[in-house]
Structure formats: C-alpha cells, structure tokens
C-alpha cells in the first residue's frame, strides 16, 4: 500500500515536471507578432510605385513593429521588388505594401552602422478589399565583434544595435557556454569590452531579448593563441566562398555545384562532414544576408 502511494506520488511529480517542461517549450517559441485585419474601402494608394507601379491595388499588407532607432527596414516581395522605410528614434516602423496575390514577404533591418538583422519571412494570405495587418514585429538585435580570433586573456569588443534602453542578452556557445546581459543606451546601441578566459576553441555569439526565440545573426569567434582583428578579408562566414562578406545566391550556386559530389572544398562543406547535403544548405540559409 505504501509502495503504491509512493509510486502515485512519484507519478504525480513526474507529470507535473513534464507538464511544466511542455509548457516551457511552448514558451520558448513565443511569437512576437499579433495579426489583425482591417477593411479598406476602395483602392489602396501605392506608396512609391515599388509595389508594381500602380495605385489600383484592392488589397495589401501592413507590417509594423520595432527595429532600431534610425534603422532602414526593407520588405522584399516574391518578384524581387523592394519597399523601404526608416524607423523613428523610438525604433518604431510601419510600412504598407500594396499587393493582390498570396506570397512570401521577407523583411530585414539595417542599423545606422550598416549592420544587418536576420531575415524575417511572412507567408501571408491577402483578401480583396482588406489590408492584412501584421503588427508587433520585433527584430532581434544586430551584433558584431572587433576580433575574429581572440588570444586567451585578451579583450574582445562586442557591439550592436537594439531597442533603446533595453536589456540585451549575449550567448557564447562552444566548449564553454555562457550568457551575460547589458542594457543599451538611449540611442539603441550596446557595447561591451571584456577579457576572454574561455577554453580554446570555436564559439558562436548571438544576441537576443529576454523571452524571444529570435536571435541576432550568429558571429563566429575563435579563442586561440593569437588575436586577429575582424577585417573584411578575414571575416569568417560559413559558405561565403567568394569572401565578399555576403551569403547570397552566388554562394548558394557554388554549394549547389558541389551538391552530393565527393571530396568537396572545405569552404562549401559548412559542417565539415565530407559531403555537401541539405544540412550544408540549411547552415548557408541561416547565415544568408544578401
């Protein structure tokens, strides 16, 4: 009887723990957008002709949310046409894209220092006579470091743009994992110079806001025996085979040439497993910034 009671108690605790774990998992994929829809009577005015050149659209999509103070937010349509808007000093932006057809819209933000956010995709359904209003978008912070490789004990500067006066978390992921946080200034800039005393090896740095599943683009830093400044020549982006600091369709084409071929060059084999397969394309797609 006592054993059964013990087992039931253990079972209850297990269910509670797993239930919490499920709930916690659900929380880690929190969405920052809230979608609402509003009707528009008559035609939607074209902002600058970039939406196709006319003003006779009967539907469209409005993207609004937060980027970085003074950032340029760009929307890319499926046909490659783009529309841009500048965020205000509170980092708020709003952009109306006249469009009639269902499609995938891609958004990105560039901060005032030229650092680019990760890409955000919105496969959106449009209804004639309506604007699909996607609000509450929040770009993750941008990030960069002054060094590509840091000698153990030497200093590294990590900086980027974010919302003004907001706590930004920075993750080091590698042989040692660590996270620290700092608060950005009123201009939406965060910067920290710190000594590196981690185990030698390769690390990936990302910055993000508390409770947000979105992160900045990932930056690779090596902790080793020498410090190397991050210059245009030495930047280390997986899959950037032409070393132009951009991961674009050009790099994709080079990878595609080596797809499933034996003995690929190191540059295209982004995870160094000796073959170019879908995993390498996934890594390339993650770092894509063209």
């Amino acid at each position: 009887m006592r054993l059964i009671t013990k087992q039931l108690l253990f079972l209850g605790i297990t269910i509670l723990i797993l239930g919490y774990y499920n709930f916690a998992n659900a929380l880690t994929i929190t969405q920052t957008e809230t979608v609402s829809v509003s009707a528009i009577v008559g035609s939607i005015p074209s902002l600058d002709g970039g939406g196709g050149g006319g003003g006779s659209y009967q539907s469209g999509v409005r993207f609004s949310g937060l980027a970085y103070p003074g950032a340029t937010v760009t929307v890319i349509k499926r046909d490659g046409k783009t529309l841009s808007v500048t965020a205000n000093q509170s980092a708020e932006f709003s952009i109306l894209v006249p469009e009639t057809n269902w499609q995938l819209f891609t958004l990105f933000a560039v901060d005032v220092y030229g650092r680019k956010s990760t890409l955000l995709n919105f496969p959106t359904v449009l209804y004639s006579g309506y604007i699909t209003d996607i609000s509450g978008i929040r770009f993750a912070p941008t990030i960069n470091t002054d060094k590509l490789s840091v000698k153990k004990g030497d200093f590294i500067t990590i900086e980027g743009s974010s919302l003004p006066n907001t706590r930004v978390y920075i993750d080091f992921e590698g042989k040692d994992n660590s996270t620290f946080s700092l608060i950005s200034n009123p201009e939406g800039v965060y910067s920290v110079t710190m000594p590196i005393n981690m185990t030698e090896g390769e690390y990936v740095l990302r910055s993000y806001y508390q409770g947000d599943s979105r992160t900045s683009k990932a930056v690779r830093v090596t902790v080793g025996s020498a410090s190397i400044l991050r210059t245009e020549v030495t930047n280390n982006i997986p899959g950037d085979c032409n070393f132009d600091q951009q991961v674009t369709l050009v790099d994709f084409s080079v990878l595609a040439y080596w797809y499933q071929k034996p003995n690929p060059p190191r540059c295209v084999d982004t995870n160094s497993d000796g073959i170019v397969n879908l995993v390498d394309f996934s890594i390339l797609a993650f770092y894509w910034n063209g």
Binding site: T14, V35, L104, P123, N242, P265, L278, V279, S282, A285
Partner: protein, 298 residues
C-alpha cells in the same frame, strides 16, 4: 553498493519508468512539423487536378525541406508543378519525377519559416510548399504518400525536426464530359544568365547561373549551347568549359507545355588563366633552351 540501490529502485518502479518514457517521448511531439496534402475528393478520368503540399512548422523556425511524393502511376499521370504559391524561394533540387510514381524535391528558405499569416483563418498555420498537377488516367482510388521527408531547423546547425507525414487519397470515376483544360501558349518570363568566375585558389570552375519563371506554372527543363554547338539538357549552376577566347552561351528554358524562352550572353575568355599557362610554358621553354645551350657549351 550503489548498483544494488539502483537495481532496487528500477525493479520497484518499472511501471513508473515506462510512464516516464511514454511522457518523455510524447513530449517530442511539441517540436514536430507536419507535412500534409490538400486535394479534391473526386475527379473524372482525363481531368487535370491539383495537389497542394503544405507544411505546418508548429511555430518553430525551419529553413530546409526535402521530401518525396509517391502516387500510383497506373492510375495517375504526373503533369507539372507550380511555384506561384510556394514559400520556397531557393531550390536545391526542383521537383522532378525521379522515376514513375515518385516526385522528389529539396529547397531552402533563407531566414526560415514559422507559420502562415492568414487574417481570416487564425488557426490555419499550414504554409503552401508546392502545387503539383496530375491527370487521372484510370478509375479507382489513388493514395498519395509523403515519404523520406527531412525538415531542418533554422538554427545554424541544420538540426533535424521530427516530421509527421500525412498522405491523402482521391477517387477517380467516369469519363470527363467535356475537356475544359486551357492551353498554355505563353513562354516563360525573360530571365538573366550570370557568370560566377572561378575562385583564384579554389577548385570551383566558372559557373553559369540561370533561373526562369513561368506565369502558368514552372520550368520543366533547361537546355544549353556553348559556342553555337548543339543544345543539351542542363541544370543551373552549369560549369563552363575552359576557353581562352570568348564565346556565346545560349540557355533555353522550357515550360511544361513546351513553350520556350531563349537567352544568350557573351562569355569572355579566361585570358588571365590562359596567360598563367602561357607564362609557365614560356618559363619551361627558356629553361629548355638554356639547358640545351649549357649542354652544347660543355
């Protein structure tokens, strides 16, 4: 001592361990993605119909999809596919009937996908991936299966996601009373051909990159001619042959109705590469002459 303690715990709690494992495995479903098909329930023989492949990433960001669609080749004939309503902007392998009854594809989405944004149907999160067209050729029930799917997270590591593959079926009965199929006579859209130069110290050849689109569907295949030579079926990226002198490269894009669009570009010769070879040959020649002269003097 420790082992005996653990053995005792395990023997007393077998049921609990089973339940813990059950819940733990059940938990993985939270992070699943599901692939499903949307198609009509009934069609007639001779009718062309569409099958939409959808993905619901369950709010996790995914950036790569690879899968195969299996269908009964004795009942259905694969006609074409359309990327007009696709969320995949970059194709690693465009959809192709690898062998009769199996269509395979792989594509990536830079930036990743999490859900569909449909303001009228808040619970509809399934994102269109591809639209396939089939023609019913025989009566019966046809099962569509989704197999060998690989969906990868947008995490910079290419981590795999658990995928549930949900096939569907269709009934084919009776002859189509009238043929209302529209004839597509529009050629593919104009497209560009770009050249990616060979890397200085790498092993990549010069590549020709091209991608055409078709208003009524998609491109069925490409053909390439180098220097006014014969056309042969090719894919992008196309490795260009090494030539010191420039030449014309012609690329033809064909849609599924056989309509064709042609694009031609002038490819400059690889003079710098050629010059390198000439310099090496010149050095070898000088070395050879000096050697001969040295032997003669001796």
């Amino acid at each position: 001592m420790k082992n005996i303690f653990f053995k005792k715990i395990i023997s007393k709690n077998k049921i609990l361990i089973f339940l813990v494992l059950f819940f733990a495995l059940n938990n993985t479903k939270v992070l699943a993605a599901s692939l499903s098909l949307e198609l009509p329930k009934n069609v007639s023989i001779g009718e062309k119909f569409s099958v939409d492949l959808l993905i619901d990433p369950e709010n996790q960001s995914i950036n790569s999809i690879e899968s195969s669609i299996i269908f009964p080749k004795e009942i259905l004939k694969y006609n074409s596919f359309s990327i007009k309503q696709s969320s995949i902007p970059v194709w690693v392998e465009e959809p192709k009937e690898e062998f009769l009854g199996t269509i395979h594809f792989a594509g990536v989405i830079p930036g990743g996908l999490e859900r569909l944004y449909d303001p009228m149907k808040g619970n509809n999160h399934a994102i269109p991936v591809l639209r396939f067209y089939f023609i019913a050729i025989k009566s019966g029930s046809a099962n569509f299966e989704i197999k060998n799917s690989l969906v990868l997270k947008n995490d910079g590591k290419g981590s795999a996601v658990y995928v549930s593959e949900n096939g569907s079926s269709i009934n084919i009965s009776g002859e189509q009373t009238e043929n209302i199929q529209q004839v597509d006579s529009t050629p593919p859209e104009p497209f560009t051909v770009s050249i990616i130069d060979r890397s200085t110290f790498g092993r990549n050849p010069r590549l020709a990159v091209f991608s055409a689109s078709d208003l009524d569907g998609a491109i069925e295949h490409y053909e390439v001619s180098v220097g006014n030579g014969t056309f042969s079926i090719a894919n992008s990226p196309y490795p260009l042959p090494y030539k010191i002198m420039g030449y014309k490269l012609t690329v033809r894009a064909f849609d599924f109705s056989g309509n064709m669009r042609e694009q031609q570009i002038d490819v400059p010769g690889e003079k710098s590469y050629g010059m390198g070879i000439l310099v090496i040959l010149f050095i070898l020649l000088i070395a050879f002459i000096r050697y001969k002269f040295y032997v003669k003097v001796k």
